[in-house]
């Protein structure tokens, strides 16, 4: 046996994507249900258009989301949490810039109980003073701890530079904002954005039909109003914007990036492949050079992230404070190499095969399948999105990737922020 010869392998086959069943719960309120689950687990995801971009005052979306189960005069938060725990339920509060909501984890025989406790609490919440003040203390402390990390200082400044201060995506809070939030802000936000909003429900679990009826009854309680949100355009400040000095730091955080296009853009799939080559997996060029050849960092990566009103490309790493400038130079060397030299067939096949395998990993099991569906739903993509993506991976050429690197990764189009 010759151990230096690799065994045969084949490319991962196309995905058998499953789509959830769509059920109208009430006027304008939809349920997406994946019921083909082989165990007793139930995951129920309720989301609103209640992300931080909808807030008029900083932190209100986050405080509201964290306190939606804070109770009222008759039933305190502790009693609500006690009951959820007693039935074995788990609860997760979710918030990003676009969406916010709750995720419930339970089993077939307890999910209805847990859901009942949660929805009763949602209907009566009054954001009691004690809970509100607790949240202010806890959140301020957590913020102060996070503000000691170079990666967060760097990321906040980067967001401001890439999206601009007009855009909701560019803003971040400072300590004074925690003192400025008031209880009334939460009540107002909750009423306008949650109670008069339009929740959307994603259910993964082999539940009884009766549970679907309960969801319908609950959905009747909403009085959805049209939300006239208009996004502020992002305005990117390019170039080397800032180096935030942190006394005694041992590492420097680096963020390099730019505004990009969304998932329906004709260059989207190709750019995702290019991103993978550059910094999207463990074998990427940035990892190979800056970690595996130079030993400057524990990790470096790049990503193309798409939100509702903007998208961005970002390279991020933390490196030894004495090699910050060398690292920046190497990052630009790698970008220029993508612009000046064709990617070899060998490397391109490796990236394609890796990505095809990764589609399988990202779609393994009903919960993962639902996450893929949410991507299609929220980004308003065609049902053929994943098969289109896979097709694009197969057909992408080295020349196309070189052109994309020239088109989108010019140094003068990038924003650079460092901290440390």
């Amino acid at each position: 046996m010759n151990r230096s010869i690799a065994p045969d392998y084949t490319q991962a086959e196309n995905l058998a994507i499953q789509f959830p069943e769509k059920i109208q719960l009430a006027e304008g309120i939809q349920l997406f249900w994946m019921k083909d689950v082989k165990d007793d687990s139930v995951k129920l995801d309720i989301e609103w258009r209640a992300g931080s971009k909808y807030q008029a005052k900083k932190l209100v979306a986050s405080f509201t989301n964290k306190l939606v189960l804070s109770g009222d005069e008759n039933k305190p938060s502790s009693a609500i949490q006690e009951e959820i725990d007693y039935y074995g339920g788990f609860l997760q509060h979710e918030l990003d810039r676009d969406h916010a909501g709750l995720v419930l984890y339970g089993l077939r025989d307890n999910i209805a109980k847990v859901f009942g406790i949660v929805t009763e609490a949602l209907a009566t919440v009054s954001f009691p003073e004690k809970q509100f003040e607790k949240e202010r203390r806890v959140a301020t402390m957590a913020f102060n701890i996070e503000s000691k990390k170079v990666k967060n200082l760097c990321q906040r400044r980067f967001n401001l530079a890439v999206f601009g201060e007009e855009s909701a995506y560019g803003k971040s809070a400072d300590e004074a904002d925690f003192a400025a939030v008031e209880r009334q802000d939460l009540n107002d936000f909750y009423q306008a954005i949650y109670q008069e909003g339009t929740p959307i429900v994603f259910l993964v679990g082999n539940v009884e039909a009766a549970f679907i009826e309960e969801l319908k009854t609950w959905a009747q309680s909403f009085r959805p109003k049209t939300n006239n949100y208009t996004a502020q355009l992002s305005r990117q400040e390019k170039g080397r914007i800032a180096n935030i000095v942190v006394e005694d730091a041992l590492q420097s955080a680096i963020r390099i990036g730019r505004l990009m296009f969304n998932k329906t853009h004709p260059d989207y799939f190709g750019f995702q492949v290019l991103n993978t080559v550059l910094g999207g997996y463990f074998g990427s060029r940035l990892m190979a050079n800056i970690r595996e050849d130079k030993g400057y960092t524990y990790g470096i990566g790049s990503d193309l992230a798409v939100m509702e009103d903007a998208a961005y490309f970002i390279i991020s790493t933390e490196v030894g404070i004495d090699v910050r400038e060398e690292t920046l130079q190497e990052v630009f060397n790698e970008i220029e190499r993508l612009q000046n030299e064709l990617i070899s067939e060998e490397e391109l096949s490796k990236v394609k095969n890796y990505l095809l395998g990764d589609f399988l990993r990202q779609a393994d099991g009903p919960i993962a399948m639902m996450e893929n569906f949410k991507n299609i739903h929220f980004n308003e993509l065609p049902r053929t999105y994943y098969s289109d993506f896979i097709h694009a991976i197969h057909t992408t050429t080295a020349v196309e990737l070189q052109n994309l690197a020239i088109k989108y990764l010019q140094r003068e189009d990038l924003t650079i922020v460092t901290a440390g």
Binding site: L107, V138, I145, E292, N353, G357, G365
Partner: protein, 412 residues
Amino acid sequence: MINYEEFKLENGLKVIFHQDKTTPLAVLNVLYDVGARDEVESRTGFAHLFEHLMFGGSKNIPNFDPPLQMAGGECNAFTSNDITNYYNTLPAQNIETAFWLESDRMMELAFTPKSLEVQRGVVIEEFKQRYLNQPYGDVWLNFRPLIYKNHPYKWATIGKEIEHIEKATMEDVKAFFFKHYSPQNAILVVGGNLELTDVKQMAEKWFGPIPAREKYVRNIPAEPEQTEARELVLERDVPSEAIYMAFRMGSRTTTEHFTGDLCSDIIAGSKSSRLYNRLVVEEKKFSSISAYITGGLEEGLFVVSGHLNKDVTFEEAEAAIWESLEELQVELMDPKELTKVKNKHKTSKVFSEQRLLNRVMNIAFFENMGELDEINNVLENYDRITAEDIQDFSKRIFARNRQSVLKVKTKK
């Protein structure tokens, strides 16, 4: 219910197969029974540095990752004080690529000076990123030697100090490999959409020719019973003061592990726990509080930790935690409270077993403990615990002369 089939190769390698026909994937996991506990005090951080070197090429394969990625796969590894674990996930039809790669690095590493030099740098940056350049990052580097005086649990997996990593030589690397990376010291678990006969054939083909090596026999200095309260105060540039309280307890393989786990849930495992409601919400002494057990294979720790609110003294904070620990010793708990924490384990178990990778790693972990037949009895082990058990545990474990306390003071 996790199904499995076991067999053993002639060189002593234990192999376990877990079939799952519902996934297009397969996982190949190799656990080596070596961790930071097997290091000597003058050369710490070595097991973990070695884990990095395992990706730097083997005798017949210059680089581990590219062929795996070519076959659509992905891999990673982790090191703890107890074990080192490597795992590969790939499309099921390409599982042989993982057999080839993992067997070649068990056979023999390439031992290239370049790999050692680079990975020293990478690990030093990891040391800075995770332990030194973060608020509270160095707590456990300092806490472990307070709790342990003799036992190798006194240093963290990353090592005692950066100098140990800087000083690692190629001779150290080679000696470590031949001492610990033998087939008798490893457990191979393969899971996914495969057939037993194929797994057997591939295991024989790729791992069978690896020679058995001298069996490493662990001989770890015992830690004497703690008889006095210990305390260490660190002064750091941090936004809030923090307290960490640790009590030594039974290992992962003892009943005490399950009792301790439930006890930690009751004290501060969720928003309905005793300490959260009392200290974070009502008395406003803490901005966060948590309790957990470490589950070490040599022995465990019961840890309570939290961040103090402004103007709360360490004395008040410590007294508040002790009040709750003593309450468990004096008052028998309401059975309903115990049912609550047991029910949460029932739910989390179902979710944790959904992922093939988790099931496969769990099999390796249980086999390494010598308790593979216990893998499907975990819930029963929790269910068996009574309110009296929790009370007994509390009386035995929570004593002033058994506590180690670390306080992080803010630098004025």
